[in-house]
């Protein structure tokens, strides 16, 4: 019986290439079929539905087929996912709505400064591989708090680990579900709140029955969809414009054209010097300090996010864990080195096909986004041609053509609307929507699983009922998954902030809470339990304090904690007049909206709150070092375990009951 199971497993692994090859071919055939349907006159709305439902159905089928009742399958996919495929799954896990939908938009808006995000979200994998990931694999944990508990003497450290995990993953998953809502509301014409819950059902179908095992095989399928969807529009655009299907190389010319067009717009009065931010000029949106702070926080955050680290628990060996990190980054790189091309092409399209056009000649694609409030012209939602003309008439001396300062586009729209901007057939738009949905769903799956696993494995099984039978453990895990998902969706439906900011917070929180304790735990045997616990509390606490104060209690931050206004990176002047703002009646308001004059605009050392990890992590390291030095060194037993973690050979340190 046992041998039979092993043979069928290795057959399964051997057939992976053929399975996913067939799947990719089938997906391409499906796109061609829809393209034909479009030509014979099937309406766009139906095509959009077909795309979304077909892909969702495939994920759900994979999810149901790979359901499992085994604990090690549920938590770590049986530890037999090959490096290459785990890399692909990590790619999908990693690339979220913020990467797929938001990244190119950010680059569109910020130009060079936006590259801080591109760098930050790739370089971190170097840290994962050299500092943490393979060691946790050797340790044999199911969750990150598992390691903290074992290394730092018990359930208090585990509990802190769970708090950090839930704080960062929950912030992050809210952003994903929000992204799902934007895509579904645009393409299915659903109400935003309804769309959020529809996306949720898709997520649950993948993750609930099969845990890590189902999520892994679904994420690979999602990676294939998302990368095809991301690359197709720009490959076509690049071929149309420059005759070469390699947008990553040809957008150098697009950048040069943008720079020329920028000069032209200034000369023609289509833009003022104040409204125009030259695409290539560094440090006009972020000061150099904030630019490098964002890079550092995103990189270190990468190496601290539990849903990423736990992907490397699923490989068959430590060696494959390392190779798998390399494959992950390669697959992620394919999207990230294309994002700046996206930004450049769509900026060129906007600058040449929208700015400078007569108001009555505005192309109609824009209005469907305008209706959602995502594109504004002359300060009003561009919902129809009459609305635009009326809005611009209200502005004194308006020349009757769209000027740069009249045009406001939400960054989330850039990728989703690029095919329409370029006049490509609707089937490409549907494809992009399906890709964006895949990106948001795959990340949400990974995050929800991380949260639910921490609650079911760490809190329920390890802390409340260590004797719980397998069936009950898995039932609790599934029930918690649903509860967390519903709470996250309810939070997302309130639209708390933009996607990028929420994701940035998640990284900083993870960095401050996890990184010092994880790195010191592996690399410095002398680290004591007390030291680590104090370090987590101090680092995470400071980061959270900075974040919450600057966003939700800015008045108190100024009054009691000596915070000052952030500075304009270009001029160096304060962005708000603190004295004036503090005199306003709402200065001390708690939990204000983003419209509050001080919210997100105050801080220490001119540091953006996205980068609060830069305050927390160094403090965490310092506290761990000092407190550890003051205490007695850890027991010989613990130190011997650290030696074991450092050697790939041999059994895992932690052995879990699997049945």
């Amino acid at each position: 019986m046992a041998t039979q199971a092993t043979t069928s497993t290795s057959d399964f692994i051997k057939n992976l290439g053929r399975m996913y090859g067939t799947y990719t071919g089938g997906f391409l055939a499906f796109i061609i079929l829809l393209a034909i349907l479009e030509q014979v006159g099937v309406p766009n709305k139906i095509l959009g539905y077909l795309f979304v439902f077909f892909t969702l159905a495939v994920y759900a089928i994979i999810g149901v087929m790979t359901r499992t009742a085994e604990v090690s399958e549920y938590y770590v996919a049986g530890r037999r996912v090959p490096a290459f495929y785990n890399g692909m799954a990590t790619g999908a896990d990693w690339m979220s709505a913020a990467s797929f939908v938001g990244m190119a938009g950010t680059l569109f808006l910020l130009g060079y400064d936006g590259l801080a995000w591109v760098l930050g979200w790739t370089g971190g994998f170097v840290l994962v591989s050299i500092l943490i990931g393979p060691y946790l694999r050797k340790f044999g944990a199911y969750t990150v708090p598992d390691f903290l508990s074992f290394r730092y003497g018990g359930n208090f450290a585990r509990f802190l680990g769970v708090i950090v995990l839930v704080a960062c993953s929950f912030t992050y998953v809210t952003a994903q579900i929000y992204g799902t809502g934007i895509i579904a509301s645009r393409f299915l014409g659903m109400q935003f709140e309804l769309a959020v819950f529809a996306g949720l059902v898709g997520i649950l179908l993948c993750a609930m029955l099969g845990g890590m095992r189902a999520v892994t095989w679904t994420q690979i399928a999602q990676y294939i969809v998302l990368i095809i969807a991301y690359l197709t529009p720009i490959v076509i655009l690049s071929t149309m414009k420059y005759g070469i299907p390699l947008p990553q190389l040809t957008y150098g010319q697009a950048i040069a054209e943008i720079a020329a067009r920028e000069q032209q717009m200034l000369a023609n009065g289509l833009s003022t010097a104040a409204a125009l931010k030259p695409h290539l000029q560094p440090f006009i949106n972020y000061s150099p300090l904030n630019f490098f702070a964002i890079i550092m926080c995103m990189m270190v955050g990468t190496a601290s996010l539990p849903h990423i680290l736990m992907r490397y628990f699923t490989t068959p060996s430590v060696r494959e864990a390392r190779q798998s990190v390399a494959w992950s980054l390669l697959f992620i790189f394919l999207l990230y080195f294309s994002a700046p091309a996206y930004a450049a092409f769509s900026k060129l399209e906007v600058y040449t096909n929208i700015i400078g056009r007569d108001l009555s000649a505005i192309r109609p694609w824009l209005f469907s986004w305008g209706e959602l409030g995502l594109i504004q012209i002359c300060g009003k939602n561009a919902s129809s041609i009459d609305a635009v003309i009326a809005a611009c008439k209200a502005i004194a001396d308006h020349p009757g053509v769209v000027r740069l300062q009249d045009f406001v586009i939400n960054t989330d729209v850039i990728v989703l609307s690029t095919p329409e901007i370029a006049g490509l057939p609707y089937v490409i738009s549907g494809l992009v929507a399906a890709g964006g949905l895949a990106a948001a769903l795959s990340t949400a799956d990974g995050l929800l699983l991380a949260i639910a696993n921490a609650l079911s494995h760490d809190i329920y099984y390890k802390m409340i009922d260590p004797n719980a039978p397998t069936i009950r453990r898995l039932t609790v895990a599934r029930a918690l998954l649903v509860v967390v998902a519903v709470v996250a969706a309810a939070t997302a439906a309130t639209k708390p902030a933009d996607i990028l900011a929420m994701v940035g917070w998640a990284f900083s929180l993870a960095m401050a809470g996890n990184f010092p304790a994880l790195v010191m735990g592996v690399w410095w045997k002398r680290t004591t339990a007390t030291g680590a616990i104090c370090g987590i509390i101090a680092g995470f606490g400071l980061c959270l304090f900075y974040l919450v104060t600057t966003r939700y209690f800015p008045g108190a931050g100024v009054k009691y904690f000596g915070m000052t206004s952030l500075l304009n990176p270009l001029t160096g002047a304060p962005v708000v007049d603190i004295a004036k703002a503090m005199a306003l009646p709402n200065a001390m308001e708690s939990f204000p909206t983003l419209a509050h004059p001080l919210a997100n605009k105050v801080g220490w050392f001119n540091l953006n709150n996205i980068a609060c990890g830069l305050l927390g992590a160094p403090l965490g390291f310092a506290v761990i070092y000092i407190v550890s030095k003051l205490g007695r060194e850890p027991s010989a037993e613990i130190q011997a375990y650290v030696d074991e973690i450092r050697k790939p050979r041999g059994r895992t340190v932690l052995e879990e009951k699997t049945t």
Partner: protein
């Protein structure tokens, strides 16, 4: 049965080599992640022939990313070699 002191020595030598590899890669990571981008303005004066990218922009958009990918494959190989040298690698 090797005695425990020789195992201890092997462990220490293995960890010394591993640490050295870690610091080397950390330094390269820091260079491509931060140092080179501090010189973006002077680097932008150099334009890559044919493609037309200013070099400073290119390094942040693609150059450093390629360096990270190459580093990771290289690191996996190098660390595996160290593990094998001391007999701490897993069986194939």
């Amino acid at each position: 049965m090797p005695d425990s002191t020789s195992i201890k020595q092997k462990e220490e030598a293995h960890w010394r080599k591993t640490s050295r590899l870690m610091f080397t890669h950390l330094a390269i990571w820091f260079f491509f992640g931060f140092v080179i981008h501090m010189f973006v303005k002077p680097l932008n004066n150099i334009v890559i022939p044919v493609l037309g990218f200013p070099l400073g922009f290119y390094m942040a958009a693609q150059g450093s990313l390629i360096a990270f990918v190459v580093m990771l494959f290289l690191f996996a190989k190098q660390q595996d070699k160290i593990d094998r040298e001391f007999g701490f690698a897993e069986e194939d």
